[in-house]
């Protein structure tokens, strides 16, 4: 075992801390949460300058060729400041899924622009039910005259309005398992209609309606009818990535709270000198540290370990439980000031609610672990 960040990981984390502290303000996040702000192209351009989208892309395709723990170190910092932007979707899900399931042509077509920061990827895989529910898809793709025609509606597609590559799942056969994942470029495709879904916080989401969207045979990622494996992989990556973001957010909430209670005075002494407040803070710190370790283990397991689904489920269950708990204790420690819109604390609470629901809610991951425990 080795709990230290490697030199590379440490470099990435400290660089990210510095950049993000300067660039991500509470107001940026708050305005997005209010639906009044928007995702900013210039800020994302600066992110791409740091070559973060290509961390996982092989060096020969223009990326940094690093592993999940390296991107994980970044995602923790990304989560700590609630940074808005399609990093998880592009750098983790997009790059990895294409790298794993794509053919040579697809690798060469998509990974270099991802690494160069020119391509934003989003998974458009949920429908009325989330993709991890394994319920048969309503969106369908039919192969006619050498082209696939997609129809249906996907929901909860993050950053879809900014994406120039969508990973769209559609039914390609009679059984629930007959599904296929398509690489769809919205710019080149007619018939894609986006509607924003207003959220509490977290990434901006869209409904994606597909009206006779036509793509070529080359747009199939992996094999026709074998899309479930790729979808499961996207969900797995999402769960690990979210857990890392949540661990970073928890650490940040602990720090914010410690700062506040150290300086706020009541009854002639710092609030943080009361044992009840001290124990709240201690409980928060223990929870945040446990989250960090389980999510880092999940990231490491993706790269090198066995049974990543189990490690991811543990990390996400832990994160789903603890981040709302950490935020609740933080609110107790902050008192009324933390209950205001102007204060940043509720942005963490809002993200906690969003993040625990996507890429597998608590009971979904518990059930995965239950199935394994009774096997």
């Amino acid at each position: 075992m080795d709990f230290d960040l490697s030199e590379t990981q440490e470099l990435i984390a400290s660089g990210a801390r510095e950049f993000l502290a300067a660039r991500v303000s509470g107001d940026l996040v708050r305005n997005i949460a209010a639906g009044t702000g928007s995702y900013s192209d210039s800020w994302w351009r600066d992110v791409t300058q740091l070559e973060w989208p290509g961390l996982l892309v092989p060096e020969e395709l223009g990326g940094a060729g690093l592993g999940f723990p390296e991107l994980g170190a970044l995602l923790e910092e990304w989560g700590a400041v609630l940074a808005p932007g399609p990093l998880l979707e592009t750098a983790l899900q997009g790059a990895s899924a294409i790298n794993r399931f794509g053919n040579d042509g697809q690798l060469k077509e998509f990974l270099p622009p991802i690494a160069a920061g020119e391509m934003i990827v989003t998974p458009a895989v949920h429908e009325e039910q989330p993709a991890w529910a394994h319920i048969s898809l309503n969106a369908s793709a039919r192969f006619i005259n050498g082209r696939w025609t997609l129809n249906g509606e996907k929901r909860f597609a993050p950053f879809a309005a900014n994406a120039n590559l969508m990973l769209v799942s559609a039914s390609t056969g009679p059984s629930a398992d007959d599904c296929t994942l398509f690489l769809v470029r919205p710019e080149d495709s007619r018939g894609i209609e986006l509607t924003p879904m207003k959220t509490a916080a977290g990434p901006p989401l869209s409904r994606v309606r597909l009206h006779d969207v036509q793509v070529t045979e080359d747009a199939v990622l992996g094999e026709v009818g074998r899309g479930q494996e790729a979808i499961d992989y996207l969900m797995l990556l999402g769960a690990v990535g979210r857990s890392l973001q949540m661990a970073g957010a928890a650490r940040q909430v602990v720090n914010m709270t410690v700062d506040y209670v150290s300086n706020r005075h009541q009854f002639g002494r710092p609030v943080g000198s009361f044992q009840a407040v001290q124990h709240h803070c201690a409980n928060m710190a223990v929870a945040a540290k446990g989250m960090a370790l389980l999510s880092r283990k999940a990231a490491w397991t993706l790269s090198e370990g066995s049974n990543p689904a189990r490690a991811a489920a543990m990390a996400k269950v832990k994160a789903n439980r603890e981040l709302p708990y950490v935020c609740a204790l933080a609110h107790q420690c902050h008192g009324a000031i933390g209950f205001t819109w102007e204060h940043n604390l509720h942005l963490f609470t809002r993200h906690a609610l969003h993040w625990r629901s996507d890429y597998g809610d608590t009971n979904y991951h518990r059930k995965k672990l239950m199935t394994e425990a009774s096997a």
């Binding site: 039910q129 207003k198 009541q266 102007e342 609470t349 625990r356």
Partner: protein
């Protein structure tokens, strides 16, 4: 010992429920946002309708516009109002300053201030906390300086719910800066429209305007509007908090949301079962919360029962507030979680379950364990006054 309502209580409960079902817009999900004019109008209409039936102040003595019934009935009232997420329950008037005036007010004050509350014609708000005085209320710095028959008030109050809609505020101000901190405080009644009062909205974390900061710039208040005696505001002010402190609103809110989410689960699809309600991981959490809500409800009714016997135990009220505010948070957190990816969708999204109300409530009820004496303070009270644990 009995655990059911009397026939009169049951009838009151049913009558109130049917009044509310008629008074609220069809399909009302709530909660009200009183900064919206349509919701504020609804608030006024419901408050007036309740007053017309004598229900708004049902627990008050008859001579002041109440029905003089046992506090159990007031508790039923508050529970039903909360269960319906109904606006119009002016708890600052009916549950806080009203009972305080009945106990500590002068005859003039009672005659002047109580009837308008009972008739549902005025709105009150509270001026206790200040930017630097939260849990430590005795550290307030708002000054009131005597000037002839008046006092001149200067300072700042914060977290004043509904101050932007209020006619009157009861507030604590320091009248003797040289006295020990608990000894130099006085309670005043202040017309919010007086010259020198300015109300600044504070947006809450659920994204709407319920709190305010209220500034007093040499505001003149006649001496006749002192409640409970000059420099006696600490004990008057604490007595008022004890009138306020009850878990009943939380119990009503929590029960409603549990019913809502159970109803939702009956038709919500579930990957593993015919519907979410048959998913044991869902229903096990649901029933655990039901047990806790029932426990909090009984604790709350017991506190009201004791109060009705004239044994107003600060501990019973603290226990009720503590238990109820915590289970209410758990219930709303559970509800939003069980809505899955639809849970965090915001009001305004066409796909948001319950029009986003449960999310809004989940965020709003974060305040329940903080306001009206944080739950840490409640535990201190239970330990010190209920269990007589040593202070040092």
């Amino acid at each position: 010992m009995r655990f059911d309502f009397t026939p009169e209580e049951q009838r009151f409960r049913d009558d109130l429920a049917s009044f509310l079902n008629g008074a609220l817009p069809p399909g009302w999900i709530g909660p009200a946002d009183e900064s919206r004019d349509d919701h504020w109008q609804l608030y006024i209409d419901v408050r007036r309708g309740l007053a017309d039936r004598g229900w708004l102040t049902v627990g008050w003595p008859k001579q002041y516009g109440g029905k003089g019934v046992f506090p159990i009935t007031s508790t039923i009232f508050a529970e039903q109002m909360a269960y319906h997420r109904a606006p119009g329950n002016d708890r600052f008037g009916t549950r806080m300053i009203g009972p305080t005036l009945i106990r500590f007010g002068t005859e003039d004050q009672k005659r002047r201030f109580l009837p308008p509350i009972a008739r549902g014609e005025v709105q009150w708000c509270q001026g206790y906390s200040e930017p630097d005085s939260g849990s430590d209320l005795a550290s307030i710095r708002t000054r009131a300086v005597q000037d002839g028959h008046d006092f001149i008030i200067t300072g700042s109050k914060i977290w004043s719910t509904l101050a932007h809609r209020a006619d009157w505020m009861f507030l604590l101000a320091r009248t003797d800066p040289d006295a020990p901190r608990h000894k130099g405080i006085t309670m005043f009644l202040c017309d919010v429209h007086s010259p020198g009062v300015s109300v600044k909205p504070i947006l809450n974390m659920a994204g709407y305007h319920s709190f305010n900061e209220v500034r007093f710039d040499s505001v003149r208040v006649p001496r006749s509007q002192v409640v409970g005696g000059i420099n006696n505001g600490w004990s008057t002010g604490l007595a008022l908090l004890n009138f306020e402190r009850s878990g009943i609103d939380y119990v009503g809110w929590a029960s409603r949301t549990l019913d809502d989410i159970a109803h939702y689960a009956r038709s919500a699809p579930d990957p593993d079962s015919s519907s979410l309600i048959y998913d044991p991981l869902f229903s096990a959490q649901l029933v655990d919360l039901k047990v806790e809500v029932e426990s909090a409800r009984l604790l709350t009714y017991e506190a009201a029962w004791q109060q009705g016997k004239g044994e107003a135990s600060p501990t019973a009220a603290s226990i009720s507030k503590l238990a109820a505010s915590e289970v209410n948070q758990r219930v709303h957190d559970f509800a939003v979680e069980m809505l899955g990816m639809y849970g965090p969708l915001a009001p305004g999204s066409d796909l948001a379950a319950f029009e986003g109300a449960l999310l809004k409530l989940r965020l709003f009820y974060t305040s329940g364990t903080i306001l009206a004496g944080s739950n840490e303070i409640q535990r201190n009270i239970i330990a010190a006054r209920g269990l007589n644990l040593p202070r040092k």
